[in-house]
Amino acid sequence: MIARIRLAASLAIAGAALAVAQPALADGDVVCSSGPRENWKSINDLKKAAWLERWEIIETRIEGDCYEVYARNERGQVLEAFFHPVTLEKLVVFRRGSEVYRKRGFTG
């Protein structure tokens, strides 16, 4: 009986720990604070911004409140770049998860 209670208790503790840990660890999302969608520039403008970087676009998508571009640069490196949807500024760039560029002062 005591063993069963102990089992149930450890299960509950493990579950609670996971529930607490999950949101605390899920901090990888880039936040652009870009406001309502009607003010956003078009995806075509985003593609132009990526083209101006001389990148070959693999995929564009909306990630949270940011524009996200997967692209290949001239050296064949695969990049994951976040652009501000209103200003189309390049905010942060990852290469396979490692940060390779961040706009000065950007903390989102």
């Binding site: 990888g28 064949g76 695969v78 998860g97 490692s98």
Partner: protein, 200 residues
């Protein structure tokens, strides 16, 4: 029973792969987009294969768990095939050896190679004759899958900068491993108590 079930299980395991290859061939998708689903499936299937061991320790042998156990090697091989597809799509997407070597030492990349290498160890000895030939070493070599799962989850975390999805996938294993440890300890304690009783 399992003999009859096995082809059905394999069909089920192959369905996502068939859908992916069909979409790729018809131009509905491209290699880059298939990286995520193949990697996720490889990890999920490894987790499913590893779950049955602790479940049997905790709940004892029943028909359902024994059936699951009998299919475990099949599930593991399917996980490896999705891992292999993941690698093939990666190479297809990169298109050349130069950029692949160039990014090898990035944490998000070497972790993927390492996880795949560990899966390869386990999968390469999955034939019946290998099980027989290796004896106790077979089980020891299969522990490579533990490494493949943990490093595979790390690979996901490093690529995504987000621990959430990888942790959710590992959660069932962490819960079961904890439970198994607790159950084993209580059983040991009970056995000791009984021995003491019989001595007294």
């Amino acid at each position: 029973m399992i003999r009859k079930l096995r082809p059905l299980v394999w069909l089920l395991l192959a369905l996502p792969a068939l859908a992916m290859v069909y979409q790729l061939a018809s131009g509905a998708t491209f290699a880059f987009k298939l990286l995520h689903p193949t990697g996720e499936l490889a990890l999920r299937l490894m987790v499913v294969a590893l779950m049955v061991g602790p479940l049997i320790t905790i709940f004892g042998r029943n028909r359902f768990l024994l059936g699951w156990l009998a299919l475990r090697r099949n599930i593991g091989v399917a996980a490896f095939i999705y891992g292999l597809m993941h690698l093939v799509f990666y190479v297809m997407d990169m298109g050349a050896i130069g950029p692949i070597i160039d990014e090898f030492w990035l944490p998000g990349i070497w972790s993927g190679w390492l996880s795949f290498a560990l899966m390869l160890v386990a999968a390469s000895i999955s034939a019946d004759w290998a099980v027989k030939a290796l004896g106790p070493w077979w089980q020891r070599l299969q522990y490579a899958v533990y490494g493949a799962v943990l490093i595979g989850a790390l690979h996901w975390y490093w690529l995504d900068n987000n621990a959430g999805p990888a942790l959710v996938h590992l959660a069932p294993l962490f819960v079961l491993w904890t439970l198994r440890a607790v159950v084993k300890r209580t059983r040991r304690a009970r056995k000791k108590a009984k021995e003491k009783e019989s001595l007294a």
